[in-house]
Structures are given as C-alpha cells and as structure tokens.
C-alpha cells in the first residue's frame, strides 16, 4: 500500500518534468447515431516529443455479457448452457462492449508480452474477460472466453486485428477508429500509450461519446422510460392508421 502511494507520488512529481510527452485528440468526440447511421469513422491524431511506438486501445462501455451454448436435442439445436461475464471483485470489472487496437509496429516488437498484457493490449488476457474459479475451471473458462471473443468479433465489436498507427516523420501520428453500425451506445475510452525501448513512457486517455441523437434517441428513451405511455401511443397510431386506410379506400 505505502509502496503504491510512493510510486503514485513519484509519478505525480515526474510528469510535469516532461513537457507533455504525448498529446492526442480525436477529430470528434461525439458519434451520433441518427436515422441513417451506418457506422462511423473517427480520426485519432497526436504528437510525441521523442521517437517511440504508439499503441491505441479503444474500449466501449463496460457491461455484463451473457453467452449461450447449444446442444442438439432430438435433432434440434437448443441453448442448454449459459455463462455471464460480469464484474467480480476485487479487480475484475464488466467486460468492454467494444474493443479495438492499433499500433505503429507489430505489438510483439514493441514490448514484452507481460507489459502489453498489463496495459490491456492482449484481448484474451484482459482481466474483465476472466471468470471466477467457482464458475468455471481453467479449460472451460478458456472455451467460453474464446467463444465470447469470436462472437463479438463476428459482430464487429471486438476488432482483434491490430490496425496501423501511421507516423508522419518522427513526431506526428494518426490512425482511424472504425465503429460499425451496431456499436453500443455510451462512453468509450480511447487510451494511447507511448513506448520507448519496450517501456511505457507516457499515456493519454480521451473519451469518445457514442449516443443516439434525434428522433431515434427520443423514441428509444421514451420506450424504455415511459413504457406504458409508449404502449398506449403505439396502439393509438395503429388504430388511426387502420381507420385512415378504411376511409381512404372506401372512397376510392
């Protein structure tokens, strides 16, 4: 504990010495899901004050994810088992609903695996994708985790392929964050880490907001917050539409 405090204090004192070794920003911090939403692209750009490697990790809002496994029963495939990945103390939070990674060089050339893993840069080793021992043995855990990653990947929500961070000269870098049409809404965390000689030198975190905007957002919120009224309005809309159709075509 006291060691952590000391380390923290040292870090606090140490940072001002370097004049912002890493600056990062996004082309926009708000991705609006509107009627015609078909995915979005956000440009991430920044500068470093010494040559090094940059790794970018994007995580979507954390929330529990339930997986099902099917078995064949009488010729038909039925969900017979389920597993929920969710927070369990002390250190595991809910799994990210979205994950993407980009780096300036292949990851294994940038830093040793344990350093990458500690920084949440190896998806399979994320603490949030662990299951408590009481829920699953090591083998079973690995199977469910692989299934979760595979399915999230298929949905375009876990982008396991490491994308490129491009450098312009030694100092300026940029990369594109690609969000598919089915991105979950919420606050995303974009974390950028600068590595020099296999050590993390500096890190920057910037938020990215993904939210429904306009009529769609209002309908969704209304449906979830005022469910009863939403139901009544849905019925009224249908009654009026049916009556209108009757009137319109009786005259025609």
């Amino acid at each position: 504990m006291s060691r952590a405090v000391i380390v923290f204090a040292v870090l606090l004192c140490a940072t001002p010495l370097r004049a912002a070794p890493l600056v990062v920003d996004l082309s926009n911090h708000l991705v609006a899901i509107t009627a015609g939403f078909a995915g979005a692209e956000v440009l991430l750009f920044g500068a470093v004050d010494e040559p090094g490697d940059v790794v970018v990790v994007v995580r979507g809002p954390a929330r529990p994810i339930t997986m099902y496994r099917k078995t064949r029963i009488a010729g038909i495939w039925v969900n017979t088992a389920n597993m929920t990945f969710e927070k369990h103390p002390p250190k595991n939070g809910d799994p990210p609903s979205f994950y993407a990674i980009a780096s300036s060089r292949p990851l294994d050339e940038i830093a040793p695996r344990r350093v990458l893993s500690r920084n949440g840069m190896i998806l399979e080793e994320l603490d949030e994708l662990r299951l408590p021992g009481a829920k699953a043995s090591k083998n079973v855990e690995a199977e469910w985790r692989a299934a979760l990653i595979r399915n999230q990947e298929k949905a375009g929500l876990y982008q396991t392929e490491v994308k490129r961070v491009g450098f312009l000269g030694d100092r300026l870098f940029r990369t594109r964050l690609i969000l598919p049409a089915n991105v979950p809404t919420g606050v995303y965390r974009v974390e950028v880490v600068l590595f020099v000689d296999g050590h993390e030198v500096s890190a920057q975190t910037t938020p990215l907001f993904v939210s429904k905007i306009g009529v769609e957002a209002e309908i969704f919120d209304f449906a979830h917050q005022q469910s009863a009224w939403y139901g009544v309005i849905a019925i009224l809309v249908a009654l009026v539409a049916g009556w209108l159709a009757h009137v319109a075509f009786r005259k025609a």
């Binding site: 010729g75 038909i76 495939w77 949905a155 979950p184 009863a228 009654l239 539409a241 159709a245 075509f249």
Partner: protein
C-alpha cells in the same frame, strides 16, 4: 434507403420493409388472412430480433384488423356477444402469454420457442390447407358434395354455463369460446400473430359458427387482443418498434386493398394451394435452420 430502427437497433432498407408490408398485405387481402403468421418469420429472416418482430407485428395487426373489421361491421357480419366472450379468454390468454414470453426471454429460450411454435402451426395449417384445396379441386371436377348434418352433438354440448348467441345461431357453453380465446391469446403473444388462422377454423369446426360472421367476429376480438399484446410487450419487454410498425402497416394497408380487389377476380383453389405451399416453405425453412448444425454452438445473449 437505410433507416435505423430505434428499438430493433439495426439499420434496414425502408423500401424493403414497405415492399414486404405490401406483399404480405396483398396476400392477406386475397385470402382474408391477417398475414402476421407470414410477416413475423420473414422479419426474423431479414435479421430483426425475434422478440422485436413479435412485439411489433402485434402492433401492426391492430391496424390491419381495424380497417378489416370496419368493412365487416358495415355489412353486419360481427357477432359482438360472441366476440366479447372470446375476448374475455383472449385478454387473459395474451396477458399470460406476454408473461411467459418475458420468462422465456430471461432464460434464453424465447427464440427457440417462437420458431418451434411457427414450425408447429405453419406445418399443421399449411398441410390442412393443402389437402383441403386439393380436395376442393377434385370435388369441382367430380360429383356434387354430400352434405352432412348441420350440427353434430358430442361431449362439447354437455358443458355447463350455456349461453345463447343470436347472431351466430348458437346455444353453447361459454367455456368453449373462452377456452378458444385463451389459447389463441397465448399464441398471439408468443408468435406475434392475430391468430385468425387458428381462430377461424376453431370457430367453424369447434364452435359451429356460420361462416358469414366468422371473419368479422374474429377480427373484432383480434383488435383488442393484439392491442393488449402491444401494450404489455411495450410495457414489460420494450420490444415494440413503432418505426418498423409504421413502415410495415403503410405497405400492408395499401397491399391489402389491391389484394382484396384481385382476390375477387382470381380462382380460389389454385391460389389457396399457392398460399399453402408458401406457408409450408416458410415452415420448412424455419425447421431446417433449427436442425442445421450452427457454425458456432456458442452465441451472444442479451447484452443488458
């Protein structure tokens, strides 16, 4: 033109939905069926989550039943007393159905139950329709049909709580229509259908109602049952997508009008065989998908 559906949370081509609504509406106009039993599985095929397909389809059926019942009402083809008794069972049944739906969704079995219900009922109805229309075609060529007795008497007529239904010319136990209403109500909630395709045969063969009042009366009670389902699905499960419903019903009401006109000009039996074949194809596709070894036996569940 892609449009983002706020509750289904996916983007779909708006013209595809209008076209689907129109095509199914046309068929329902030709055959006088609601079309929910075709629309819901097709919505599932195009990627709408099954719970949203079911909840939304109930909403759309309210609209098409209203425009249908108004036409029948003007011709005096609605037995309101019978409709009321059926409705009593229907409201209880659909409320139970929505509750069951929520429970099944919780335990991750709702998709399977929806699809199995469809396979079962589409299979039965499709097969019956197919046989019936083949028989009608051969009867047309062969001799005149031999008429049986108007009413057969069996255990059904021994049930208590008898009621008189003047418009239907019936004196039967109220338990019977309440029971029919209840069963169709449960199906309506789980399958997102009006249930006309089960209600109508049940009214004719089980209750013995005259054919003239069957469709109007069935539509009359379907309005209230599907309205109940819409409300409860919206309230308990938030699975009613108004944007999707509006697109579908716009296409459907227009299609239904053209269908009704076309229906009077077209030959009945061949069309019925076509419909039966379509019902069986949809049924077969659903069954095939259920037995097909999935590319991944693991799947993502509810994310909330």
């Amino acid at each position: 033109m892609q449009i983002y559906l706020p509750i289904a949370e996916i983007s779909v081509d708006a013209f595809l939905l209008l076209g689907l609504g129109g095509a199914i509406g046309f068929l329902s106009g030709v055959f006088g069926v609601g079309g929910g039993f075709l629309m819901t599985p097709i919505l599932i095929f195009i990627g709408i989550p099954p719970p949203v397909a079911v909840g939304t389809e109930a909403n759309q059926i309210v609209a098409s039943s209203v425009s249908g019942v108004l036409a029948h009402w003007r011709r005096g083809n609605v037995d309101f007393k019978m409709g009321g008794v059926l409705l009593l069972g229907g409201l209880v049944g659909s409320t139970f159905g929505v509750w069951l739906f929520a429970v099944l969704r919780q335990i991750g079995q709702i998709d399977l139950v929806i699809k199995l219900s469809y396979v079962t009922f589409l299979g039965i109805i499709g097969a019956l329709m197919f046989v019936e229309s083949l028989r009608a075609m051969s009867r047309r060529r062969g001799s005149a049909p031999n008429r049986g007795k108007l009413h057969k008497h069996n255990w059904i007529h021994g049930l208590p709580l008898k009621m008189r239904f003047r418009r239907s010319k019936l004196y039967i136990s109220a338990l019977l229509p309440v029971g029919v209403g209840f069963c169709v109500g449960v199906l309506s909630a789980i399958m997102g259908v009006g249930g006309g395709f089960i209600m109508v045969p049940a009214m004719i063969y089980l209750l013995g109602m005259p054919t003239a009042v069957v469709v109007g009366t069935s539509l009359f009670q379907i309005i209230f049952v599907t309205a109940n389902v819409t409300f409860l699905q919206a309230y308990a499960n938030q699975t009613v997508d108004v944007v999707l419903a509006i697109l579908l019903l716009t296409g459907a009401v227009i299609g239904a009008q053209f269908g009704a006109r076309a229906g009077t000009k077209l030959r009945g039996e061949q069309l019925r065989i076509l419909l039966a074949a379509m019902v069986l194809i949809v049924c077969g596709k659903l069954l095939f998908d259920l037995t097909l070894t999935p590319s991944d036996i693991y799947s993502l569940g509810l994310s909330e």
